[in-house]
């Protein structure tokens, strides 16, 4: 069969297939009216046509035309379905806590990288406050003084204006979730970026806490941070885990080629970074709308402790039966 015969015999069928594609690509009402159920059959026919054209060397024009028709059909047939609510619920109830449990070594590693410098720097303030002062710098100290300097609940006063809580919510999302994402991406530099963010936050937050303990009013600080501390700090540690998953894939790919190991690691890091973003978003909600309220200290500490207990229970218990077997 010559090129001309081949084209003449099939031209009509290809045109029909292309019209169907155009309708389906448009989407909406046009696509629903189209005869979508015939697409798989027509697509397979086009695949056979392409194989024949390649095998018989009908030339570049014919191959290119059929190649494009096949690709367009392939993209419609294999389009990903939307993420349903059931998958979101399953992720929250099973997927996320199970992923954190599976990576328990990374959890302790990232926790240590954050908490050890935090406590060392915070406690060092009691012996010699100069370390802490030099970490915070003049601006940092002035900021802490203005927020937690005295007994008169300055944060609560700042938040009195209408809409201030929402403004801070936007700021916390922009800043804190952004840090989560950078911590994750930094893992690509063999984990160095991730470790940097964890270490930096540990040192800086430790310095802030130490400075407030010595030079400001500790109660106004600790009552403010207690409510959202569990969400925020666990979110940071979990995003660190996701970053280290990437970094370790590059450092120790095992039996896979490095690029392949990286692709696999990115897949297994996904539930971690999704979860970290969720925790940090919740932290922003609590920090914006709860933490700055003027309430008895006992209640605020209580809510903070309850938050930590909830997280421990969630990560230890949720989805144990279903998730760890899979």
């Amino acid at each position: 069969m010559t090129l001309g015969d081949f084209e003449a015999r099939n031209r009509e069928r290809w045109a029909e297939y292309e019209r169907l594609l155009e309708k389906l690509e448009k989407g909406g009402k046009v696509a629903r009216a189209a005869d979508a159920s015939s697409l798989p059959r027509r697509f397979r026919e086009l695949c056979i046509d392409l194989s024949l054209a390649e095998f018989r060397m009908y030339g570049e024009r014919m191959s290119a035309k059929l190649n494009e028709l096949v690709i367009r059909g392939y993209e419609i047939l294999y389009r990903q379905r939307r993420v349903g609510l059931d998958r979101v619920v399953r992720f929250l109830a099973v997927g996320f806590p199970a992923a954190v449990r599976r990576e328990w070594r990374l959890f302790w590693l990232c926790s240590a990288v954050f908490w050890l410098p935090f406590f060392v720097v915070m406690l060092s303030a009691g012996h010699d406050i100069q370390w802490v002062q030099s970490i915070l710098g003049a601006d940092g100290m002035a900021g802490m003084d203005s927020m937690y300097g005295g007994r008169e609940q300055q944060i609560e006063h700042l938040r009195d204006q209408y809409g201030a809580n929402f403004m801070m919510f936007g700021h916390y999302i922009h800043n804190n979730v952004g840090i989560d994402l950078r911590t994750f991406a930094g893992g690509l530099a063999a984990g160095v970026g991730t470790l940097f963010y964890l270490l930096f936050n540990g040192i800086y937050l430790g310095a802030a806490a130490g400075y407030v303990n010595e030079a400001c009013d500790p109660e106004s600080f600790w009552t403010f941070v207690s409510g959202h501390s569990s969400y925020e700090l666990l979110g940071m540690v979990v995003s660190g885990m996701a970053g280290m998953r990437l970094g370790l894939a590059l450092l120790n790919p095992g039996r896979l080629p490095r690029v392949r190991a990286l692709t696999e690691a990115a897949k297994s890091a996904l539930p971690l970074i999704y979860g970290a973003m969720l925790l940090t978003t919740l932290a922003a909600v609590v920090e914006a709308f709860w933490s700055a309220r003027f309430l008895p200290s006992g209640l605020k500490y209580g809510v903070g402790i309850a938050g930590w207990m909830l997280h421990v229970a969630y990560f230890l218990l949720a989805g144990r039966r279903v998730g760890d077997a899979a």
Binding site: E54, Y162, L270
Partner: protein, 249 residues
Amino acid sequence: MNTAEPKLDTLQAVELAEGVEIRLRMAGPMLRMAAYLIDCVIKFVGMMVVFIVLMLAGMAVGDRVMWGMMALVAFFAEWFYPMVFEVGKRGATPGKRMVGLRVVQVTGSPLTLGQAFVRNILRWVDALPLMVWPTYGVGMVSCLATRRFQRLGDLAAGTVVIYDRQPLLPVLIAPPPITAVPLPVGLTSDETRTLVLFRERAGLWSAGRRQEIGEQAECLSGARGAEGVSRLMAMAHWVQEKKQGTLKR
């Protein structure tokens, strides 16, 4: 898929479950840079419009609410602008669409949400080093070092950027040869394709240029100059017309 030898073009063959090979044309870093710059302009204009609307709305609901909204808008534009478009039907940001590119999996099928997320969050690393503005130095080096022009985010997500509609090669067949010469040795499908393509495009070139290109395949034709070209033509003719005669029927 696993072609270790250097290739003549940027086509990558991918075998589908249907048993057929499709060829994807990979997009190089320069075109992608153009798409990125267009996206930057679109993002900038979009943000400006949103900010002006918010500013006006701010008079009604209060300045602070508006500043909060702006922080949220800036956050989503910074991290999720490309991702939202790439999981969509077109598989491309507006900038990519304008220059005719789209993002697909290495296997040629459309992106999953997770892949779009990974490649666009890791964009932050590819954009380094930062010199006032992202330079994409890391991404450029990675693009040039990989076979499919992948930046690090693409490698981690398992994605490639391809031409959406492949531009057709100009084709002009030279007058058909009188004889058909069987191939002296077996050729791979890629090599045979190149030979046929030589015949199909030969009409576009002057005789001198034809000979110059033909001499690259001297080991196949066994001759130089006009003689070599006519032998290559005869072999291409055999491949296209005669070989299938012997195989079919």
